[in-house]
């Protein structure tokens, strides 16, 4: 006669083994699809910020991580993707963190071409108020498209603000904190690109700039 506790332990072990097998089997069946989805999702979320820039190969291969402290917005590691055409740099994409939003950090993607003009801005992740601050999403309003083609000199320094603050950019109805944070982050990214452009494009993929 097996003692009651041993019987309980054995049942538990048997069911644990069964459940682990079930999870392992599902994992094996789905890993490949999940990895492909992640890659596709990443590429799909990066490309809109590059506008109509032509480049060779996959944008995700040229990834760089810039560890803090850096002069980019936010205190988190920033990710840079470089786009080349026939070996010549054409544009760079920065995934940076804008601080000063209404509800936590806003992850934004800023594309800049070699001439220093913005090719596109997209919001990757945010927790701003639905219906107000979420107008920064390209799928909800055109607000974020007003930065296309802008650069450090266009508008000049004082113009990189909301109209209510005396600048050149439109606000969002009912939200000014969120747009301010985004504008500030875009300008800081442009300043960083202006200062570090040569280093950014020369770095081999995966390396870390100074």
């Amino acid at each position: 006669m097996i003692p009651r506790t041993a019987k309980g332990g054995l049942t538990l072990a048997a069911i644990a083994a069964l459940c682990a097998t079930l999870v392992a089997a599902t994992h094996v069946l789905t890993t490949e699809r999940i990895a492909a989805n992640e890659q596709a999702w990443l590429e799909r979320s990066l490309l809109p910020a590059l506008g109509d820039v032509d480049f060779d190969g996959s944008i995700t291969d040229s990834r760089l991580t810039v560890e803090p402290p850096h002069d980019l917005p936010g205190n988190e590691p920033a990710i840079v993707y470089r786009a080349y055409s026939a070996g010549t740099p054409v544009a760079a994409l920065f995934a940076v963190t804008a601080t000063g939003g209404y509800a936590g950090p806003i992850r934004i993607l800023v594309g800049i071409d070699v001439g220093g003009a913005v090719t596109g801005v997209r919001i990757l992740e945010h927790r701003e108020t639905p219906g107000l601050g979420d107008g920064i999403e390209a799928s909800r309003s055109d607000w974020v498209r007003q930065f296309d083609g802008r650069s450090l000199g266009n508008p000049p320094a004082g113009g990189w603000q909301l109209r209510v603050d005396g600048g050149e950019f439109d606000q969002l109805t009912g939200a000014s904190v969120t747009p301010r944070a985004v504008i500030k982050a875009i300008r800081e990214t442009l300043l960083y690109f202006d200062a570090q452009q040569a280093e950014i494009f020369d770095m081999p993929a995966g390396a870390e700039p100074e």
């Binding site: 049942t11 538990l12 069911i15 599902t26 999940i34 989805n37 999702w41 639905p130 219906g131």
Partner: protein, 215 residues
């Protein structure tokens, strides 16, 4: 017999003992994800799937399980099923998975599922437990969809937006009836108001159907 049992379980899950409306179980996901119909449908399907499978597994193993260890075993079964569901969503419905986020893994903590394991599946046969899982799961899913439908309509002025999350392909705007809506409905308080309205409506209908005994 089986057909009668099926109808009885469905009636119970969909209306009489609806997990959300009557038992008020699983309110956290119910309130959190129902900002659109598609989100409600997605989490509804995931919960239905987990609840049905867990009911069947618990019922199938009930003879060997000692009373002392039944709760860890339920947790083990439910957690494994939820992990599998999460992997399946990530593989086949990546957009929906991204939009439901943490609420898919949190199905583990949906007390409606443990409650059905403990109250029904551990005391009934496999077929009855299967029906119970389907009925309760469908009741919960329909409530999620109804609240999602209502909040999306009032809050955003649209119906069935973002269906591409479920079927893939290009973004779909759904039926846009009016541009913008009453923002409160998609914010968290709107979820509570919507649930309260749904519970009140159910109680009103029940009262009306039952002829008043007093007076």
């Amino acid at each position: 017999m089986t057909a009668g049992q099926f109808i009885e379980r469905m009636q119970s899950g969909l209306w009489r003992e609806n997990p959300g409306l009557v038992q008020l179980l699983g309110l956290c996901p119910l309130l959190a994800v129902t900002s659109t119909f598609v989100n409600g449908l997605g989490l509804g399907i995931a919960t239905l799937l987990v609840l049905t499978c867990s009911n069947v597994l618990v019922s199938a193993t009930r003879r060997w399980i000692l009373a002392e260890i039944r709760v860890p075993i339920y947790v083990l079964i439910i957690a494994s099923l939820v992990t599998c569901t999460e992997l399946i969503f990530k593989a086949w419905f990546p957009a929906l998975d991204r939009s439901l986020g943490i609420f898919i893994p949190l199905i583990v903590t949906n007390c409606a599922i443990v409650a059905r394991a403990e109250l029904f599946a551990s005391r009934n046969g496999i077929v009855a437990s299967l029906f119970d899982g389907l009925g309760m799961g469908a009741g919960f899913a329909l409530l999620l969809m109804a609240i999602g439908f209502f909040r999306e309509l009032v809050g955003e002025g649209s119906l069935f937006a973002e269906f591409d999350k479920l079927v893939g392909g290009d973004p779909l705007a759904g039926l846009v009836l009016v541009d913008g809506g009453w923002l409160l409905a998609v914010l968290p308080p709107g979820a509570f108001f919507s649930l309260a309205l749904a519970v009140a409506l159910k109680n009103y209908l029940d009262d009306k159907r039952k002829p008043a005994r007093r007076t």
